[in-house]
């Protein structure tokens, strides 16, 4: 029976939604990851609502630094979107330059986050205690920003591989589109973390 079944070619076959299967799988991965972050942010909201007092994040963190990080990440999202456009026009030299720029943006973001963490740790904030008296405050900060930072780091590695493949002529337009979707998702998640954690 099995010998008569034709195996589907996921690289060329059209998915039920019109795009390729690879892209559909990427969308499903992103939706799953979005739910994971939604779970974290929902827990954070519960902790805040259940806690009678909550430290003012605006007085603890440098809003200037966090705004700078946000602008850097948004700029890297724009360079990535332009890289995808360039890949669609088959301008691979420009793609490599833009990917490197995007990686620089991601690295600056990660460096700023490391600085922020070091400052926070230096002030005595740990996973179980902090000087502001609400242990959940620092615990949720480390978990949420740490998990996002891990995504940024993974994104930089994906971009490095994509840049190498683009420079050596192995990359395809769809590969750039998938990498671009992931990077934009990292951007998207930060747009929720920034106001919910630092501003509200």
């Amino acid at each position: 029976m099995m010998a008569g079944v034709k195996q589907a070619d996921v690289t060329t076959e059209v998915s039920v939604f019109g795009g390729s299967w690879r892209k559909l799988m990427m969308w499903l991965f992103i939706a799953g990851d979005a739910l994971l972050f939604a779970g974290f942010l929902t827990c954070y909201a519960f902790l805040r609502l259940a806690s009678p007092v909550w430290p003012d994040a605006g007085r603890i963190f440098s809003l200037g630094l966090v705004t700078f990080m946000t602008l850097v990440l948004i700029t890297s999202g724009a360079t990535m979107a332009v890289a995808v456009d360039s890949a669609r026009r088959q301008d691979w030299k420009r793609v490599v330059r833009l990917l490197l720029l995007t990686m620089v943006g991601g690295s600056i973001f990660l460096g700023s986050q490391a600085y922020e963490w070091a400052h926070f740790i230096h002030e005595g904030a740990g996973l179980r205690s902090n000087p502001w008296g609400v242990p959940n405050f620092s615990a949720s900060f480390y978990v949420i920003t740490g998990f996002h930072g891990f995504h940024v780091l993974t994104g930089i590695l994906i971009l490095a591989m994509t840049a190498y493949r683009s420079a050596t002529g192995k990359s395809k337009t769809e590969g750039l589109e998938l990498a671009g979707m992931y990077w934009a998702f990292v951007d998207l998640v930060w747009v929720f973390i920034f106001p919910l954690f630092y501003l509200i």
Binding site: V14, S20, L35, F46, L188, P195, L199
Partner: protein, 106 residues
């Protein structure tokens, strides 16, 4: 039979360019940060920040993730189901979760 969507030769308006989207996102980010700095009353700042957050999220998803180039059924499936699950998760578990957390103490 359905065909894979080809985005290569679509004409674009100026406001559809990534740098234009970037400019709008920068302005919205600065507006949001300014709201945090100005220490406005919460009944003004919270709805404003949430509104700007939603606008930024939509811009990034539609322009940078190219969601608007996908078919409507995919947009509804991915965005609709994600938002539904988040709302479902939050609304239906919020009171129980808060109750349990308050009972468990600091």
């Amino acid at each position: 039979m359905a065909e894979i969507i080809d985005h290569q030769d679509k004409p674009r308006r100026c406001c559809d360019q990534p740098w234009c989207t970037w400019g709008v996102l920068v302005v919205l980010s600065l507006a949001m940060a300014a709201t945090g700095l100005l220490q406005l009353p919460r009944w003004i700042s919270v709805p404003f920040i949430l509104g700007v957050m939603g606008a930024m999220a939509w811009l990034i998803a539609s322009r940078f993730m190219h969601l608007r180039e996908e078919r409507r059924i995919l947009i509804v499936t991915v965005v609709g189901s994600t938002i539904f699950t988040i709302v479902f998760l939050f609304v239906l578990t919020a009171w129980d979760a808060i109750h349990v957390l308050r009972q468990s103490g600091p």
